[in-house]
C-alpha cells in the first residue's frame, strides 16, 4: 500500500506540474509583473492602469501580511522569489533585508527628486517611496475639559498630571509600538531609555498588543470609542483621517498629533527589485513609476503617509489637519537591526514584568 501511495503522490505532483506549465505567449500579450506589498498597501485603479498600458503589463499584487511578515516571507522564499518587486519595507527592518541580500541594485533616474535625508542605502538596493511619522495623538475634548496643557516632551509624560492617560503598543508586535520605543531610545540613548520606561510604568502607562486595540478600544479621542485614555501612540495623519472618514460629520478633527521635537519617529518606506526576477526591465519601469508624480500624488489618501517627493501637492485634508514631525528621533537602521531583540527584551523586563 505504501508504494502505491508514493506512486499516487508522484502522479498527482506530475499532474499539478503539467497544469501549471506556462502556456506559449504571443509577443503582444501583456507581461505579468508581480509586486509584493504589505496588507495596508493601496493604490488607485486608474493610476495602476496607466502603468499597465504604458508598459504593456499586468500588475499582480501579493499581499503578504504586515511589513515584518512580508519581509520574512521574502527572505524565506529568496531561492524562489514570489515577486519581482517588493514595496513597503521600512527603516526599522531595512538592515535585516539588506543583510539577507534579497534585492538587486538599481539606480533609479527619478531618485534625483527625492531628498537626500531619505536615501538610507547608498548601494541603491532600495529606493525610498514615502514616509510617515509616528507621533502621540491626543483627545482635544479631554485636554480642554481638564484645562490640561499638552505634553511637549517625552519627559512630560512621566509627570503626575499625565498619570494614567497614555496607551502605547507593544514594540514586539506592533510597528508604531516599535517606532515609539525607538523614539525613546533616540531621546534617552540605549543606556537611559529603560529609566524613562520605569518612570512611565510608575505613571500607569497601558501597553496593548496592536494599533487597532490602542486606537479604537483604549484611546478616548477616536470616534465611537469606549476608551478612557486621552493620549495614544498613532500617526501624524490620524487626525486628518478622522475628518476624511467621518462621512461628512466632522469639519475639525476631534484629535490632534503632537509633533514637538524628539517626540516622533519617522518611518521611511522603501521598494526594491527582488533578486532572481525574470522581468528586470519591467521591474525597473515599476520602480521609476513608484517615484513618478502620478503614483506619488496618489499616496497620501490611499495610505495616509507622505510622498517621498517633496514637490507633490498634498490633498486639502492633509494641508489643513496634518503637521509633519519636527526633528523626529534618530536611530540608525544598522543599530536597530543589531539591537532590536535586545532592546525589546530589556523593555519587556522593565515594563511587562
Amino acid at each position: 500500500m505504501k508504494s502505491r501511495i508514493v506512486l499516487m503522490v508522484i502522479m498527482l505532483t506530475l499532474l499539478a506540474g503539467c497544469v501549471k506549465a506556462t502556456p506559449a505567449v504571443s509577443p503582444e500579450a501583456p507581461r505579468v509583473l508581480r509586486v509584493m506589498v504589505y496588507d495596508s498597501f493601496s493604490v488607485s485603479e486608474d493610476v495602476i492602469a496607466r502603468f499597465e498600458t504604458a508598459n504593456n503589463a499586468t500588475v499582480q499584487f501579493l499581499k503578504a501580511g504586515d511589513a515584518g511578515k512580508m519581509l520574512n516571507q521574502a527572505i524565506l522564499s529568496r531561492d524562489n522569489p514570489q515577486a519581482d518587486v517588493l514595496y513597503g519595507l521600512d527603516n526599522t527592518f531595512l538592515s535585516r533585508a539588506l543583510n539577507a541580500d534579497i534585492f538587486e541594485p538599481y539606480q533609479a533616474k527619478n531618485l534625483s527628486v527625492i531628498p537626500k535625508a531619505l536615501h538610507l542605502d547608498n548601494k541603491y538596493r532600495v529606493v525610498p517611496t514615502d514616509y510617515g511619522d509616528v507621533c502621540l495623538n491626543y483627545d482635544k475634548a479631554y485636554f480642554a475639559e481638564h484645562s490640561l496643557a499638552l505634553p511637549q516632551s517625552l519627559t512630560d509624560l512621566t509627570q503626575p498630571e499625565y498619570r494614567g492617560l497614555l496607551v502605547v503598543e507593544n514594540p514586539a508586535s506592533s510597528s508604531p509600538g516599535l517606532a515609539f520605543l525607538l523614539t525613546t531610545i533616540g531621546a534617552f540613548g540605549a543606556d537611559g531609555y529603560l529609566d524613562f520606561w520605569e518612570d512611565l510604568r510608575a505613571n500607569d502607562v497601558l501597553v496593548v498588543d496592536g494599533w487597532d486595540t490602542a486606537y479604537y478600544n483604549e484611546f478616548s479621542g477616536s470616534s465611537g470609542s469606549d476608551g478612557v485614555r486621552p493620549l495614544v501612540v498613532s500617526y501624524a495623519t490620524s487626525p486628518a483621517a478622522e475628518v476624511y472618514f467621518s462621512a461628512g460629520a466632522l469639519t475639525e478633527p476631534p484629535t490632534g498629533a503632537i509633533t514637538a521635537p524628539g517626540t516622533c519617529f519617522r518611518q521611511v518606506e522603501f521598494a526594491g527589485i527582488l533578486k532572481g526576477t525574470q522581468n528586470r526591465d519591467l521591474a525597473e519601469a515599476f520602480i521609476e513609476f513608484l517615484l513618478s508624480a502620478d503614483f506619488q500624488t496618489d499616496i497620501p489618501l490611499q495610505m495616509w503617509v507622505f510622498p517621498a517627493n517633496p514637490t507633490i501637492a498634498l490633498p486639502q485634508v492633509f494641508v489643513e489637519f496634518t503637521l509633519e514631525a519636527v526633528q523626529p528621533a534618530e536611530v540608525p537602521a544598522e543599530a536597530i537591526e543589531a539591537n532590536r531583540e535586545k532592546w525589546i527584551e530589556a523593555w519587556a523586563d522593565v515594563v511587562l514584568r
Binding site: V9, V207, V228, W304
Partner: protein, 569 residues
Amino acid sequence: MPDNTAHRSPSIHDESRVATRHPPLVTRHWLLVFPLLFLLVFYFYPLGAIFRASLMGDGGLTFEALLARLLGPATWRTLGFTFGQAALSTGLTLLLGLPGAYVFARYDFPGKRLLNALTTVPFVLPTVVVATAFTAVLGPKSPLNVVLMNVLGLSRPPLDLRYTLGAILLAHVFYNDTLVLRIVGGFWANLDPRLEQAARTLGASPWRAFVEVTLPLLLPALGAAALLVFIFCFTSFGVILILGGPRFATLEVAIYRQAIDMGNFPLAAGLSLVQILCTLGLTVLYTRLQGRLARPLDWRPRRVTQRRPRTAGDFALVLANVGISGVLLGLPLATLVVRSFDAGLRYYTALFENPRGSIFYVPPVAAVGNSVKFAVGTTALALLLGMLTATALYRRRQGWIVDALFMLPLGTSAVTLGLGYLLAMARPPLNLRGTPALIVCGHTLVALPFVVRNVLPALQALRPSLREAAATLGATPARVFVEVDLPIVWRALTVGGVFAFTVSMGEFGATSMIARPELPTIPIAIYRFLSQAGALNYGQALAMSTLLMAVCVAGFVAIESLRPPGSEE
C-alpha cells in the same frame, strides 16, 4: 430501527468483539488512502519544508545553542502558562456548556434552532472585533461601570476585566461554548432517555442517575469536545494578545514573535515542534481512552428524546440556560450589531462605495461570495474526507495512531504552517499559490478534525448488530453504509459540517498569507478597515462583522436542514 435491545445494559462488550472478528478490513484500509494522501500533501510536505528551511538555514545558531534556548526557563514558563490557562478554560467551558447541552438535548422550545445557530457565531468572529464588544460590555465606559461610579462616587471605573487572566478565560468560554453545546448536545439528543428513567425508577436520585448512567455514556462526546476546546485554548493567539495583553504569552504567541518579529526561524521551528508534540501527546492520550470509553448504544429519534418544557422546574431550567447564553454570548454580539447601526445605514451603504478608487476595494457582495464559496468547498471536502477517515478508523485497534495524525493540524502553529505553504506550495511540483483550491485545502486541514471528532464517537456507538443484520439480509457494504450508518450518523455529520463551515468563514491568518488580493474574504475586509483611523472605517468593520454573523447563521440553518432521504431527527 429495532429497539428490542433498549432495556439491556449498554456496557455489553460481546457484540463489538464479535464484530472485530469479521471486519471487512480490506475495503476499510483503502478508505484511508485519500485522507492520508491529503494529509501528506497539505500538512506533512509543507511542514517538512518549513522545518528544513528553518533548521538548515544560515540562522547563525548552533544546534547546541538552539537546544539550550529551547529548553531554557522561558520555554518552560510559557509552556506552564499555556497548559494552565488551557486547562482552566476547558474546565470552565465544560462547566458552563454542560447544562446548556442538556437543555438543547432534552427540550424542544420555540426559537431553539436560531439560538443554537447564534451560539456558534462567536466562533467566526475576528478577535479584534470581539475585543471591541468586550470593551463595550466590560470596559471602563460600560453601563455597569457608569452606574457603579455614580452610585459609589468613584472617579475611576471599578471593574475592568481586560488585560487579566479572567479576560482570557471569559473569551475562551465565549468562543468555545458552542463546541460543548453542539458536540455533547448533539450526542445527548439521541441518547435513550429510558436508561436514566430506569435508574430513577429503581430509586436513584436524579444526580446519581446522571453520574452513574448518563455521564458514562456521554464520555466519548464529552472527551471529544474537551479535547477540541483544550487544543483550541492551547494554541490560542489573538485572545491572548488582544484581550490578555502583552503580559501573557502562549507557545503560539512565542512562535509568532520569534518567526515574524525577531526573524529567529530556528527557534520558532523548535517551539513549533514542542507545540506539535504536546498536541500529539494529548490526542494519543485521548484516542486511547476513547477506544475504551465507546459503547454501542441505541440511537433514539429526537421526537422521542425531546419534550416541551411543562413543569415550573422545566421552564426555570430552560430560561436559566437561555439567560446565561444570552448574557455571555448574546450581549457582546448584540453590542456589535447595534453599533453597526450607529450612523443609521451609513456604514452599510459605505461598503458599496469606493470613493478613492482603490484597486483593493472589496465589494461586500464579492467578499461574501468568496467567503461562502471557500466555506462550502471546505465543508464538502472536510465531510467527505472526514467520513472516509471515521469509517476506516472506528473499529480498528491501531486506528488511534492515524486518528491522532489527523488532529495534528489543529495543534500546529498557523504561522508555521502558513510559512510552510509559502515554501512548498509556491513552486513546482505543487505550484498552487493564490489558487482558490489551496485555500480550500488549507481550511479543510483545520476543519477535518472537527468532522472526525464528531462522526467517530457516533460510529463507535452504533450497535454492530444493525449492520450485521443488514449484511445478513444481503445488503452490500455500500448499501449498509447508505441505509444503516448514514442516517444514524447524519446528525454528527451536520455538526461536523457546521464547524467546518465556521472554521472556513472565520479563518484569517493562513488565508491572508496564501490568498491573492483578488479573492478577499469577509475577515480580510474587516482587518483592512480596522487598519486606518476614522469613524467610517471602524463602522464599516462593524457592518462587515454583522454581515459575517448573518451569513454564518444562514449557513448553519442551511446545513442543519439538509437531510438524507428517509432519515429523521
